[in-house]
Subunit: 211 residues, 2 copies
Amino acid sequence: MELETRLNESRPASPGTLRPGGRTAKVRRAVLDATLDALAKSGFHALNMDRIAASAGVGKTTVYRRWTSPTGLVGDLLHDMAEQSLPAADTGTLAGDLRANAELVRATLTDPRMGAVFRAVIAAAACDEECARALAGFYRTRLAEWTPAVAKGAARGEVPAGTDPVELLRAVSAPLYYRFAVTHEELTADVAERAATAALAAARDGVFVRE
Amino acid sequence: MELETRLNESRPASPGTLRPGGRTAKVRRAVLDATLDALAKSGFHALNMDRIAASAGVGKTTVYRRWTSPTGLVGDLLHDMAEQSLPAADTGTLAGDLRANAELVRATLTDPRMGAVFRAVIAAAACDEECARALAGFYRTRLAEWTPAVAKGAARGEVPAGTDPVELLRAVSAPLYYRFAVTHEELTADVAERAATAALAAARDGVFVRE
């Protein structure tokens, strides 16, 4: 407990990331920011609890007690990232919204810092069940935020009634993540555009209508 | 060189995997089989050159000299796996061929042993450039084998002329690999069927026609 006083209270938080809740919230923020930095810089397999504690200015005991292991840190970071998602687009057409969604995924994965973080958490999920569950939860949250766009599109007659919104949104993300995580091919604007267009064409054809 | 004589010549090769070429080919086969076993069992980060040499019944010096590092082993294994691909389906319709392709991808990824191997090589590619290039090469080879199915489908008028075969085939694989490597969702027969149907619907709509 006394080690928590080592938290450097003067460390500036990233804009918009400081939550109310006093020291516990500040400790969590500092530790998750340090985890994100470490994942971006060196990946999951170099993640070290002692170094995270030192970078965050938080006592080691606190970090071990609250997060237990590197996979605990990654799991909590993913919960935090899911909570901080940007609001979904509302361009007036489903085609526009799906293009915006694909472009957002592309922008995230091609951003040097966030791309490295996603590569690290995908690698963590490949070797650890707890990380895999946290990553699956992150995508459930992210995709759920965009489901109203599909519902509105269906109401406007842009896709058949009964179209499964999550299945359509998965179809938009899949070609981008497939290139990013599996085939290591370039994520051009064209790839994002085509992912959205292909998913919409399949949806119009009724492929994602729930049985 | 003398260490190569430790190769256990009585070790049974998997059916169809023994190539002509004498001792060099046998050493490679034994080492790659041991690498596949180790990846399936413990993943990429536990891959150990000394243990591979011991399992393969090959001298350490040989393994270090010919493969240099664990990433060298993974790279060579991927070259070998690409060469051993099954022939593409020829069901008489592009819809049938794409369903067969999706089902083959699903069967591979849900096979306990091969699924673990793919998880391991995808993780290896996430942390190492040499593995990433080898994995990209593996998929280039695999997808290229199926391009004649798309050309035949286009000739039969099932998709527009000028449809990019590789782009269509990527669209079939993407939803399966996205679930497998990123969101960790179940790969049911239904998911494979829908991946093929969605990709074909987009192709019919001209989404994959080269500009």
